[in-house]
Symmetry: D2
Subunit: 426 residues, 4 copies
């Protein structure tokens, strides 16, 4: 849809302004002793996985308003993500959803992935919906179900996911468990937890030794009284039960109102149990908005913990899985994803700028104002030229969304796939 | 599905226990100067409308697990509600949803309604979904839309709803407006409000003089940044703008965390602007659970305000519309509705028992403990025998859910309509 | 202030009504196979500790409106609690707050306690305020402080508390840590946690082997950005770090909006790490209202978990510490405490009535409606006659608050201690 | 404490860096068609009132950790605010709290104010605390009280406040009513509202015709069940009842979790009923943190509404009162206030940069991405050089906090006023 050459042409017209802004910022940071190119290299190296399930227009229980041109199969999804990656050079992998995206012709897929410089980063199981041919229903739970037949079905589905992933060189199984209850009394809390722990152990044992199981938590929705894994404490306890290759996954929208998420991030890093992120934006709950669209400062504070933990030799935490998990109800899904990646990179860049030596001194001396101002200084710095420069140096677009629009990509996709195409899984 | 005679037979086996419990309670209340039969008569007279859209299994954006036997058209929906009413004698009307339940053969419908002792209580417009043949999309709003063509379409739809309602002797138009925005900047708050006010005025002018327009509010979902009518204050201001026949509708799930809903109820009664209720249960948001299933004491405090306001001559508020609006994702929808009505009647009964003279004295004298204990005394009284007696005297079942199960109604519905029938609108 | 004989006289006038209500309930429960006297015995045996710091009028940062007659020293506090216990026979112990209630003449205190049939149940440390003679300030934390001098001061204070407790035969140290931060950047989350863990370990090692350390959590206040121990997951991880005698304490007001507290209770019981409760009522946050005054059904669901866990042989959890922790800003503190105990006992009684065999069957079979109705049936049963009977059989008042008022106790206390007496600690 | 000359000296050392950053930004904005000096002039003209009650260390109900050097009387408070204004040239007025700061020698005060280039912007009444000599208590309310004697006392106090204000040329009475209830049943909602409305009317009638009454709302604290004026809808209805000179005051910390405050701001501007702001920062409730310290993007969106409304000729809203209302529990109060003003000006500047023509076009065309990006572009622009330049041009410090620290002002205040001085009102 858009060639590298076309991207370079589009960059050309923006180059003057970019250079002007970048030169200023590089000089200003240099005056303050910051190694600008090192920052750029780190930003360029940061890659965020794109979910295969979020390339079409999402919706709520009240409705869906599709934009057209949605990818009709896994191959078209790979094409879409390849396009994103060509634009921003920062989306080099895919989170695969099973059964919406069961790989059929593996060698062909591997070739297509290679052509697009993409890999499969993780497989995500789905035991929150019944599939047409399913012998037992997940209506009352999957891994937690009171009936062993249902639990075994869900365990086997997760093992199938691992096998699909192995064929495509993934190393991560992400488990989001929708199990829960809508009414007091419906579920016995302790037994539901224990059944879940044992089901997860069966899956864990089937996982190759170099794989990681990511366990997500969520306080409510689709159940509105209780969820079996509602909070980080429950995820963490399950990881302890399972073993070293189980880690907690943090989805930014899965918290009760007013939760200090950055502290949870620091806590899990301290325990060596932070496995990865589902990035999205949230105002009320699991709103699945564009990452960074509602509370960009909190998002910065989260990245501040991440950078702090990842650079602290005292922290024994494995490397993290970065994934977007959002629902594009209103915007063009591809524009929404470009915005999210941009927001992630911008925020990561700001966190890299924090003067950690000075911060640590202020914290030790309880100089609250200075400590806070150090964070605010990094946050208020307009780092967009650094992100643009990282993309430029990697061969991407200075302004990916502008390039996407200039190339009339959505129009092309609609022409090719039709106005009424529906992405698998929607 | 169940005859009145069968209901009497089922009552027979419960009669001894009922009489034992009722006799005690009647005697105990009588000792305290309460006119028991008057309470029973008030409970028997209390009727709650059933929504035509909630007779099938509901769901979330993550999935739906249908129970089978769902009504396939409006006629079958009327049958289902007739069944409920036969069981509890407290559900004598229907909230109609357009376009899911457009009446076709009006005389036949009127006859069916009469056979089931039912009426149509209100019509509910839907401008939150696009219908297949729709010339313009509601993706970016309806009554608030920036484009007059869309607004006119939505206005006309509401006028159509009024006309459908007129044919069936309804007197109420309920407007729930899903209009809102998902991102900062998307919508100009002031202009969106003004366009909405003017669109509502166009509808209001088309409404017969003896009709009421109920304006619902909701803080979020399906939009997750802003809603055009997020709170009671906005609904109220729109009612002031429109005229005396516009009233605020309170849906119990449409509030931010920790909202004191009973105070809003008192406030609107004071202003003479409380139009009606959408009953349901909520733990986190618009969870649409069974009424009274999560916070029964708050529900009692709401009814305490209602009874207080409805019996206070100082309050100039028109009579209220009582409707259920829930989503039956987990339970058999008909059992869920029976539970909700039971919960509403039980709670209303408790509110009727409050000693308002003593309460007023305690309030005037700031005797906080006594005032609170007066409410708690009514709440803690086990009034279920009064509700059962009201149903018995009206010809209904002493225990509607037990009767529903004893008569194997769901099994019969599945046999008749099939395991895979889908209710219109789902 | 009130003799046992006077209590009996006051009971006499209420006896007829009580007997009428009790006879009905006993008969009704008997018909359903419930051993009524066993329930009564369990209720009579249930004892709730009264906090020494909550006998005077509490307040907010905006002001305090004292009622008069507050206890001026520990001896008068013991008198007040002795009075409560005489009235309800359910408050046989005291939670002691250090340094507000440092015991001076231990033998005299022991005699006073014995005369009032009271014991000291726990000691509570205070490192959230600076005392006049304190060499270092807790302004920036205590056990988490960056400065070892401050940490050592706080550790020593906790050891002092243990020693005060040992002298009075207490076996529990309750640690509520107000440590936290008001601004992003102020505190290094991981280091603050680690320092806290190590400080707690120093205290834990100084604790006798038959003591329990209870670790409280709280999401905010007095700090409004982060608290070092904000949630049950953090408390739990600290208990794991410390050893078997460390347990989590749940304060009902210390949760974010919409938290499912009953599930946390079940979780901690499953882990064998639930140490005890601080009972109070909450609408918005740590409101410290009368227990059960706002969400009585949630309170019942919590007791349902407790009774379920305490009667399940699979649960390996030590016996629990029950304490009230409230602030009596509006009501007479002694009336408020009587209401709270009454509410706790009523709720416990309801939880004892739950038909656990039937509930377990419904849960196993995913009969959501029946499972819920079993809980609602117990909750809706008016068990007040059982609680009154338990008090009567133990020699207490049928209606403790009525007896308190009839005996004009507050007036007597004001006469004795003055209108302007201030309880130590306020 | 610090002379204008010393400020210039301190600026000198920062001038090079400032000029470098300012030159870049001015050039960049100029390229985009923005009139930089006009922006600077608007920023320089923006003035924020400082509350007389927030110059000492604040606290919570759990304690207070004073920093020393607190102003001991109104004269010293004026000195402190004069100092702030000398540093930032943006704090030219004072919100006065009665009875904490009753003016005694009016001519002397007026001279002191003039010497410090200050004015009195508003008077704030206090009916949430009992004063030592008060004949009736506000324990159960003030303007809403059931007893007319208490209401009259509170009305008279407000009239006294107006008279104090008139003597000092203030034109605004701010009414924050702490009236509410802690328990269900305590207060009759409708009557409490009506009494409040009538009490406010008595005060309103005593107010000069060129005065404004600002009515604040707050959902909870100091009462934890209900507040008489909990939300903007209630404030608004009272303003309608009173007349054109009554306006709603928005305190940023006075909302339920997840409230979209910027929409309320737009709503009130649309109604012409937005009177002013109490600026502070909030994570959980009325945390009273530094303005902009927790949710700077939401704060920007609020200013975006303000600038949009203030520049739209369709909006008929009087000019607004800008005031800080925070509690400095952790930081040096004067540094905290300097940070807050800096944050307000920075945010205002960003809102001034929004391209409103383009935004309006994107909104009309429902181009969600472009609309959002326009806001994000303004927010991400590092406008600190513009704010610094505005201060420089006005004779203030380029970096007020650095200047405050360089001049060792806190040390000087402690030396002069003592380590243990306590600000009146604390």
């Amino acid at each position: 849809m858009i060639s590298e050459q076309r991207i370079q042409e589009l960059n050309h017209s923006l180059q003057d302004d970019h250079q002007f802004r970048f030169n200023f910022l590089a000089e200003w940071l240099d005056r303050r002793g910051i190694a600008v190119q090192e920052i750029i290299d780190q930003v360029a190296a940061f890659q965020v996985a794109i979910p295969s399930w979020a390339l079409g227009t999402g919706g709520t229980r009240f409705g869906r308003f599709p934009a057209g041109g949605e990818p009709r199969n896994l191959e078209e999804k790979i094409e879409d993500i390849g396009l994103l990656h060509r634009l921003n050079r920062s989306s080099d992998s895919i989170s695969l959803h099973i059964p919406w995206d069961i790989p059929k012709d593996v060698p062909a897929l591997q070739q297509l992935l290679a052509e697009n410089s993409l890999t499969i980063d993780s497989v995500n199981s789905n035991t929150f919906q019944d599939q047409p041919d399913q012998p037992f229903s997940y209506k009352f739970g999957s891994l937690c179900h009171t009936d062993a037949s249902v639990r075994n079905l869900a365990i086997q589905h997760n093992i199938d996911c691992i096998n699909y992933g192995k064929a495509l060189d993934a190393k991560t199984l992400t488990v989001w468990l929708a199990d829960g209850s809508n009414f007091p009394g419906q579920q016995h809390f302790r037994r539901a937890y224990q059944r879940t722990a044992e089901s997860l152990a069966s899956i864990y044992e089937s996982m190759p030794a170099d794989w990681t199981m990511l366990i997500e938590y969520k306080p409510y929705e689709p159940h509105f009284y209780s969820m079996v894994i509602p909070d980080w404490g429950t995820s963490y306890s399950l990881c302890q039960y399972l073993g070293q290759n189980a880690q907690v996954l943090v989805d930014l929208g899965h918290h009760l109102p007013n939760t200090n998420i950055e502290q949870i991030v620091g806590r899990l890093l301290h325990f060596g149990r932070l496995g990865g992120f589902h990035f999205n934006g949230s105002m009320y709950g699991d709103d699945d908005l564009t990452t960074g669209s509602i509370k960009p400062y909190q998002f910065f504070l989260i990245f501040n913990e991440l950078v702090d933990g990842m650079t602290d030799p005292a922290v024994k935490n494995p490397s993290l899985a970065w994934m977007i998990d959002a629902s594009h109800n209103t915007k063009d899904p591809l524009e929404d994803l470009l915005q999210s990646v941009q927001s992630i990179l911008t925020t990561y860049t700001k966190a890299l700028l924090v003067n950690r030596v000075a911060l640590s001194q202020a914290q030790e001396g309880n100089d609250v104002v200075v400590a806070e101002e150090l964070l605010k200084d990094a946050f208020q710095t307009d780092v967009r030229p650094l992100v643009a420069e990282a993309m430029r140096q990697s061969g991407g677009a200075l302004d990916p969304i502008a390039a996407y629009r200039a190339a009339h990509i959505r129009e092309g996709l609609i022409q090719k796939r039709g106005k009424l195409s529906i992405a698998t899984g929607l």
